[in-house]
Amino acid sequence: MAFLSYLINGLSLGSVYAIIALGYTMVYGIAKMLNFAHGDIMMVGAYVAFFALNSFGLPVIPSVLLAMLACTVLGVVIERLAYRPLRQAPSLAVLITAIGVSYFLQNGAQLLWSSSTKVFPSVVPAGSVQLFGGQLSISYLTIVTILICIAVMICLTLFINRTRTGKAMRACAEDKGAAVLMGINVDRIISITFAIGSGIAAIAAVLLCSTYPSLSPTLGSMPGIKAFTAAVFGGIGSIPGAFLGGLLLGVIEILSKAYISTQLSDAIVFAVLIIVLLIKPTGLLGRKISEKV
């Protein structure tokens, strides 16, 4: 029974990783850049939601929407100011800029909202479902987290596969040059990608902070790296891959904490990642791209 409870905890943590990883993977798939500031955009979303809930006393749904709006705007602005001037630059230059943006957001948040840790109120009522005569208890929060993750994943897949914009995004991911020739405004598509990725990050922020309520300016960095790992794990650029990678990462992390060692759990997670990449060099669901000369 303990195993089941660990497994469910892992799925819940993994769902949060998965939602953050979706943002990473979308941006990577279309803009071909590793947006290391993604975790910090999420942190900003968490603060916005916190102030909406606590200081303005807004109900949960409007607070989350406000946080999503703030993150969306932030994502688009960052893309416009920091990344777009580097569209033609080597990918490493963009990577370093993203790191700069990450420093900027962390330190800006500290100046604005102070470094003191704040406690995020849970957006889901406390309590749990008891199964097997009380041997296994699953909190509502866990259930909501997993359900929202699935919902986000489904919406995103439908959007990418069924809408015109989604089609344009896929075209950009495939071949930017050809997309331009087909009359697609690539800059606009990249902006939209950032907007969606950052908006989703706000959802992840609220879920993450409901489970782990410590709110501080460095909140986003560790989940950011984990989500990036998850995205690569599943095959970066692939949406179902990010979902699968996130869930697996969460489960592996919790199970290795429970059964092997709390100290070594990070080492184990990364070791599993290495093994997977050695067997499948483009991640679990990544496509093998044949290179052109």
Binding site: P85, Q88, I96, T97, G100, V101, D266, L278, E291
Partner: protein, 360 residues
């Protein structure tokens, strides 16, 4: 006289000019700093930056060999530094009663640091170099994190009866007078500070010699061909696996040596210092200095190590401004107009030179 002249001319021959410039900058920098030091004109703060600057330089030069020359994005350089640093601290701590000459002990520590890092570099290189692009990058990141996590759980003690090791749980039972060399996540404390700036500069020069020898060798050119276009290079029969491995191992060894020097410059050292952020920081030095450009790496390391210290006057806004400067530097250095301007300046300079030469 003529011989000397031709010797210098050969030094500044088009092919090797950049090499000579790197060496000259390092040596001149050393002389200037020594003069300032001897005349007492260097503030304490700059004195305290001397050794770390050389450490970061060596680690960044190594990384540039990896990222700039062989074109492999390595996000785990801090892991190799960590190995070198803790090895160096252990060697120095254990040898302290035997070898009283601190210079000799420092050199031994650096050699051991470089050795352990290169051994790990080789072991990690085998799987890593099978991958490509961002997947390779994340695997190096993963190895860096694994090394950090392992050292975080490593306990090494030294007493009259020799070494004691334990893993995950601290089970060291030291005899009185014994010393915990590595104390898990708390790292090393009470380290004797024996690192010197001179040794740091020698290490930088050694790194430059090794790197240039690889870059301008036959296999070095092959690696670069492979970096620019792997498939084209392979199709003309270039096989570079061994040389790439050599570059990876040397890069790791340099990071290890830099780490040993770094570890012995502070009386305390924690494994958490060598995290992903440090790897990224070193990568920033490399990218800002220019991929494959060793002189650039040296200069950008100096600038970026100094920058946050010079911004201390800004108090609370220090790191915010640092972030903005970093972003602006990246955007400006990649801006087409700025580049054009730099090119035209360069051309003006060289054309004037040519004119002068013609006049003579």
């Amino acid at each position: 006289m003529k011989k000397i002249k031709s010797f210098f001319r050969a030094l500044f021959d088009r092919k090797v000019r950049s090499r000579t410039i790197s060496f000259l900058i390092v040596i001149l920098g050393y002389i200037v700093v020594e003069i300032l030091l001897k005349s007492g004109n260097l503030s304490s703060m700059f004195q305290s930056l001397l050794v770390p600057v050389t450490c970061y330089m060596v680690a960044a030069l190594g990384l540039n060999l990896n990222v700039g020359v062989s074109g492999e994005l390595n996000l785990g350089q801090a892991g190799f530094m960590s190995l070198g640093a803790f090895m160096g601290v252990c060697v120095s701590g254990a040898l302290a009663p035997v070898v009283s000459n601190t210079l000799l002990r420092l050199l031994l520590a650096i050699v051991c640091g470089a050795l352990i890092a290169s051994v790990f570099g080789f072991l990690i290189g085998v799987p890593v170099l099978k991958l490509q692009g961002d997947y390779l990058a994340i695997v190096t990141l993963a190895f860096g994190e694994i090394i950090k996590s392992l050292i975080n759980n490593l306990y090494i003690g030294f007493d009259a009866n020799g070494f004691q090791f334990s893993f995950v749980e601290n089970k060291l039972k030291l005899a009185p007078g014994g010393k915990a060399l590595i104390n898990g996540p708390m790292g090393a404390t009470g380290t004797q500070r024996i690192a010197t700036f001179t040794v740091g500069i020698i290490l930088v020069l050694a790194a430059l010699i090794v790197i240039y020898n690889i870059m301008y060798s036959r296999s070095g050119r092959a690696i670069q061909a492979c970096r620019d276009n792997r498939i084209a290079a392979e199709s003309v029969g270039i096989h570079v696996a061994n040389t790439k491995m050599l570059a990876f191992v040397i890069s790791a060894a340099l990071a290890g040596a830099a780490g040993a020097l770094y570890g012995l410059n502070y009386s305390t050292l924690v494994p958490a210092k060598f995290d992903f952020n440090l790897s990224i920081l070193i990568l920033v030095y490399v990218v800002l200095g220019g991929l494959g450009n060793m002189t650039g790496t040296i200069i950008s390391t100096i600038i970026l190590v100094l920058l946050p210290e010079l911004l201390r006057g800004l108090q609370d806004y220090r790191m915010l401004i640092y972030a903005i400067v970093l972003i602006l530097m990246m955007i400006l250095s990649n801006n087409a107009k700025v580049r054009e301007f730099a090119e035209s300046m360069k051309q003006k300079l060289t054309s004037r030179k040519r004119e002068e030469a013609a006049n003579e």
